[in-house]
Point group: C2
Chain length 332, copies 2
DNA sequence: CCGGCGCCAGACAACGATGTCATGTATCAT
DNA sequence: ATGATACATGACATCGTTGTCTGGCGCCGG
């Protein structure tokens, strides 16, 4: 900046005014400065600026996702990025792998970069450790899962309601022997989906104690084995609800390998590419990651702009998309 | 930092020494400083540090992808992140949407944040406009596509070879009436795949002029229409090669809707989730995004560390994965 | 007993920008 | 002509940190 000022024969502050489009610079000087910065390939250093700038905004936020390679996370990321790009805010993205240690380490790394806000999928048992930062006015929005041990904004899918819709849908099609395949119980959404599913079954007058529930399935392989075991048991279910994508894939493989894909019903939580191209099409409870991302962006921007209302949880409704597998009728 | 120094009753520089683990501080003082920073919830500001620090490293890089919601990009992103996290380097990620304007704008935004390097999928017709930055020693690694108009490192899939493998595979299975469905011709990889595909056909002694080639397909919808038109034409192909995921999906839909999915062969470039669960399984030329990401990370780190060898293009081999659709024999 | 050396520690400038304030000059009403 | 007013501009301190340099102190050998 100094060099530009010298070349243009003006003061350093005038250069600052020009590149920031501040008023109070004559058109002639402005042109001279612009020519000089062009010539020197000058580029404003926004990190240096944010040191002194009022509010100290770095125009960047940190985004913590289960994994950037997870398509669901990718959609959220994209929606968020688009909304923030309009304001010139850049996004640091990173993956947690559902590891509480990584969560803490990465938050710390972002804090060190003085991000203007944090958008995150929490995994640690409690987020109480960030209370100091949060109350020190660091905007935070939790997505997909609600925070524990701290009051903060959150944007989540209506997990219980969605899972209940799946149960109701299966029951309406005549099923009474339902089964639940779910993720690790330390993942909040998995637990909520199980609760919603079982409660709806209870409301329908079916004894939930008769419902086989398999938890702790975190990948396709374990889900496949659990499903196989279930389907080859004494009194196999006529309908399966799987709480998550990978679990759904495992269930699909199990059904197909046993030749039951046209006779046992399946509803999965979470939509996925090509679900409609499967044989049969897979009925799902679809979440809306774009809406989650967009809402999270709105919230974090509002907080950055000083909104200090009470923290609130925003719920994005899920949607049942019938495609065939969930409409299979029980044989017996 | 000043506050910590005051509380600990030491000079500000001593605090700096402690938090940076520099030698020359007595154990006692060190403990006192650590206690003080604990008490004040002090967190080192690495952006301020990078202002004066030697080399001015901000410990961050910029990553420009077609879209962060694209699974292929997501895999690359993840591999890159993992490799860079070990060095404490954070990643700014953003989406280009194959828009040259966005490319320039985002590069500029990252430059303003003084990233230590840039990893990008170029889309603009030429990247000559970044020559000043690059020669001013900004490390850059291009991924997936090679840069035009500038000499820089690149990590790419062997597109021609991969496409040629697809052609050879189909020809080996007896096909002579092949068709090509491809992406926009301004996308480098699409062009290379077409070239590789057609050249292999030529080598097999088939007149390439007889091969229907449809370019400019950028989404599922247009691909679907192009495939339908092709398949219902006078002399329909017995095998299709699609140059990209979305195009493959369009082709799959077309085949299924015409009931031809078991009689017309299909090979797609790019692997995708559930390809093996389709009916039939979809044969693909798989790329290895993790390897692309990992290699790109190694290169950018080497450049950041001062490697100033001549720019080089690194080629990551593709792999043909037979799953059924590519092994369908011609009827006639 | 003294000079020299090593160790710890702090003072100070600097990094690249912005906020504040003072200054100079032209313009205008009186 | 004069003081007030507006506008254009630059000097300077400052943001939070690190690099450099200097100083005090204890210890050692001569």
């Amino acid at each position: 900046m100094k060099n530009v000022a010298d070349l243009a024969g003006v003061g350093i502050k005038t250069v600052s005014r020009v590149v920031n489009n501040e008023p109070g610079v004559s058109e002639e000087t402005r042109q001279r400065v612009l020519r000089a910065s062009e010539q020197l390939q000058y580029h404003l250093d926004i990190t240096a600026g944010s040191l002194k700038r009022s509010g100290r905004k770095t125009q960047s936020i940190g985004l913590l996702l289960p994994s950037v390679s997870n398509p669901f996370s990718g959609e959220i990321h994209r929606a968020l990025e688009d909304a923030l790009a309009e304001r010139g805010i850049a996004v640091f993205a990173s993956s947690l792998d559902d590891d509480p240690e990584r969560e803490k380490k990465l938050i710390s790394a972002f804090l060190g970069r003085r991000v203007d806000g944090l958008v995150l999928t929490p995994i640690a048992r409690s987020q109480a450790y960030v209370i100091p930062e949060h109350s020190r006015n660091l905007p935070m929005v939790f997505i997909d899962r609600e925070p524990v041990g701290i009051e903060a904004d959150a944007v989540v899918t209506d997990n219980e309601v969605g899972a209940a819709k799946a149960a109701a849908h299966l029951i309406r099609h005549g099923h009474t022997r339902l089964a639940y395949l779910g993720d690790r119980t330390d993942i909040q959404t998995a637990t909520k989906r199980r609760t919603g599913f079982l409660e709806e079954i209870g409301r329908a007058g079916i004894a939930t104690s008769t419902i086989p529930v398999r938890n702790g399935l975190h990948d396709e392989e374990t889900a496949l084995r659990a499903a196989l075991e279930l389907l080859t048991s004494e009194n196999p279910p006529t309908a399966i609800f799987s709480s998550q994508n990978l679990v759904t894939f495992g269930a699909m493989r199990a059904l197909k390998s046993l030749g039951l894909h046209h006779s046992v019903a399946l509803i999965g939580f979470d939509d996925f590419t090509l679900a409609d191209m499967m044989e049969p099409g897979i009925t799902v409870i679809a979440q809306h990651p774009e809406r989650i991302g967009k809402t999270a962006a709105e919230r974090i921007l509002a907080r950055i702009d000083g909104d200090d209302g009470a923290p609130k949880t925003y719920i994005v409704p899920s949607e049942l998309i019938p495609r065939g597998s969930g409409e299979i009728l029980p044989l017996s």
